[in-house]
Amino acid sequence: MNPTEASSALLNGSSSELLARVKHISSGDLASAAYKIDHEGFYPVGIMQTLGQAGAFGAHLDRNGRQFGVAIDAMREIARNCGSTGFLSWCHDVCGLYMEQSGNPALMGALLDEHVCANTLGGTALSNPMKTFAGIEKMLLRAKRVAGGYRVSGALPWVSHIGQGQYCGAIAGVYLDDGSTSHEIMFLLRCDDEVVLRQCPEFSGMEGTSTWGIRLDDYFVGEDALIADPARPFIARIRAAFVLLQTGWALGVTQGSIESMLEVEPLLGHVNKFLDDRPDEMQAELDDLSQRIQTLALTPYDGSVDYVISVLDARAQSAELSLRASQSGLLHQGARGYMMNTAPQRRIREAHFVAIVTPAIKHLRWEMARLSKQVLPA
């Protein structure tokens, strides 16, 4: 299927058909590969492409009617069987969102067509900038204005869903000659020969997310690669959408964990009934949360403080729920879920990642506290 066909497949087919296609891939090829992805560092390029052609990565875009609820549901279907691929889906979704929302014709046409159906792959390097804007960290990439664009230098510790020939959205602080910063720029960083990709240490899981350290040395950013200049107003506009999309991934890990509990219910229900966080309780919480998320998904660009806090709250709750559900999933399955190639112990590590990736639970609470404080004259 070519990009235009993939895009029209999304437009023509109903969202339930889209979700059915995604579910089919997720429960088939993806479920079989989940162990290899998590443990052996298998980066599921082919599966991502199949998912892209099924329309999994485009529903949230303006060109497809801004159906954030559908994009979240698609990600949930994916993460249900593989948290790593759920995370890759979020990386891919937000990268597409950056490209489209940039308003830069160089990023919105054929490049975005290819991206949406995953013929090309790209992620997001906004962990450090997001924390910088929240007042938690300092900006790691530094840009200098030059003729026709900027030169960017610096290093980022770990960026996922990239690799040689791939790309990601990145932000750099623009430094003036006197050493002060004037503003920030956001750009599409293409991982070409100029960009040094550094092997990361081994993580406890999610090894197949193609996560690398990036080093830039006078890397040139031209007009055609600019997503936003200045970056802050752009980030303010997309921030809630960025965070909200992540919930699909967390909901999927939670749903998968509940299914692991139910799987052993006929066999172990007589003893599992003594456990906390039983599947029906977890499902009730998940449904309550999902419903709220679907309501929030109707207005992803509502920039009001109230809306942003509600999104951050939903994202924090989705992480907390995935932690509890994955823990309970393993307790329900017992030793059979503790084996290396089984889903319950894998989901515990996936849920930990849901909880610590930017914005981590603690960052979400920090930000909600910051936004809740009343502003007074100094």
Binding site: A155, R198, D306, A316, M368, P377
Partner: protein, 440 residues
């Protein structure tokens, strides 16, 4: 020895790895005891690979415990959770504790939970009050006395009534009963920037304004001549400041008082030295040099002043309630007898509630509301709250105002008696006085 050597630590800004000079980084060939400055420039973070330049000096910081220092005698056991540590929140805590000596109570507050009487803030400058003199009891002391788990500097961010779960910026709480005592926040019109306009709705704001005023007379522009605006104007004036009071109406408190009475109040305030500018609309506030603010007006020259105070009314922050699908109108709708919201086991009282479609932002009914809630939680349904219009007292030194009952907007006022010092008026419905008013 470590101290004698004065070893320093440096933190990786990317991943948080700490380079300790005492330990070095032997894996990368940096011997123990290598000063950070002596590390070669091509050295990179052994964990994440960012450059040496991305490290910065590290000094451990101490963090205030979430409990504000109250020992955690109570665990996170399910019990009563109260949101807000203003007068209403503490009244609820007192009432619940009086009913039940054992039930766990957790109180979540955005501030430190110190107890003071908010109405005193609008007469505090002339009394030379301070934070210390206004605080009747610290939050810490109240928490210990009432055996309340106090979560200070904590914001309630989400509520799921079906799960009996309150989410906060310090974690989630389960409750058997939840009491919302969130108060009301200043309604700041868009043309008034929050970072330039004070709103005197809590102790911290008052302390901030007092600090800013310092010891010398200042020019203060107060926007809004409602109850709070009039009281503050009167107080700032008495304390020796120059005050300009603005309102869109032609006289102060014109939406509440009959024309004759609000006119008398205008004369009294002006007699005391307040410059009142009626029928005046503000279009913006900007910062000029050296802290001077400029208040721009429709059809009038801009006013320059040292401080701007917005007294433009209050509004209930309904984000939490709306997110939880509680019924709200101009506040959180509660049953007028039990103070229960539309959700089971969730109650509300004080400035945040709406009773029969009306918010009720007075201190007087709060302890009765708290008692009704505590009784309902304890299963005693024989102590219902009965709502009645509170007495309104305007603490303006130049002309005190007392009103009993709530006037109807199109009702006819009549003068009961009038002297140079005093004015008494009444409003009647069907020949019966429904509202009386005394000035002077």
């Amino acid at each position: 020895m470590t101290q004698a050597q004065d070893w320093k630590q440096f933190i990786c800004r990317a991943c948080g790895l700490i380079y300790d000079e005492r330990l070095g980084d032997p894996d990368s060939g940096i011997a123990a005891g290598t000063r950070f400055v002596d590390i070669p420039d091509d050295w990179v973070c052994p964990l994440c690979g960012v450059e040496k330049a991305d490290f910065e000096p590290y000094e451990a910081v101490s963090v205030m415990p979430a409990t504000g220092g109250v020992p955690l005698k109570l665990t996170r056991a399910v019990g009563v959770v109260i949101v807000g540590a203003g007068h209403a929140g503490w009244a609820a805590a007192e009432a619940v504790r009086a009913q039940d000596a054992l039930v766990p109570i957790t109180l979540v507050t955005a501030c430190l939970g110190d107890r003071y009487l908010k109405p005193e803030l609008s007469i505090a400058l002339r009394r030379h009050s301070s934070r210390e003199s206004l605080v009747r009891e610290t939050g810490l002391a109240s928490a210990e006395r009432l055996r309340v788990r106090l979560m200070t500097e904590t914001f309630a961010v989400g509520l799921s009534p079906a799960l009996h779960q309150l989410r906060t910026t310090r974690g989630n709480l389960q409750y058997t009963s939840l009491i919302l005592a969130q108060g009301a926040r200043p309604a700041l019109p868009e043309v008034l920037p929050a970072h330039l306009c004070w709103r005197i709705n809590d102790l911290d704001a008052w302390v901030g304004l007092k600090r800013q005023l310092g010891g010398t007379p200042k020019h203060i522009v107060i926007i809004g001549a409602g109850m709070v605006g009039c009281e503050l104007a009167d107080d700032f004036m008495t304390a020796g400041h120059q005050v300009t009071l603005l309102d869109v109406q032609k006289a102060p408190l014109a939406t509440l008082l009959p024309e004759q009475a609000s006119e008398r109040l205008r004369v009294a305030l002006e007699g005391a030295g307040v410059k009142f500018m009626g029928t005046t609309q503000v279009t913006g506030v900007t910062q000029l040099a050296q802290g001077v603010k400029s208040v721009s007006l429709v059809d009038a020259p801009a006013l320059e002043c040292d401080e701007v105070v917005a007294a433009t009314g209050l509004v209930t922050d309904t984000r939490l309630a709306v997110g939880a699908q509680l019924t709200t109108d101009r506040g959180i709708v509660v049953d007028p007898m039990t103070l229960q919201t539309s959700a089971p086991d969730v109650f509300a009282l004080g400035d945040c509630v709406s009773i029969n479609g009306m918010p009720c932002r007075f201190i007087e009914p709060i302890s009765k509301q708290a008692h009704a809630i505590a009784s309902a939680i304890a299963g005693q349904l024989d102590a219902p709250y009965t709502h009645s219009a509170p007495v309104i007292r305007l603490k303006t030194h130049s002309l005190p105002v007392v009103m009993h009952g709530i006037p109807v907007s199109n009702g006819q006022w009549r003068v009961v008696s009038e002297t140079h010092q005093e004015l008494k008026m009444a409003q009647q419905i069907d020949g019966v006085d429904c509202c009386t008013l005394e000035l002077g």
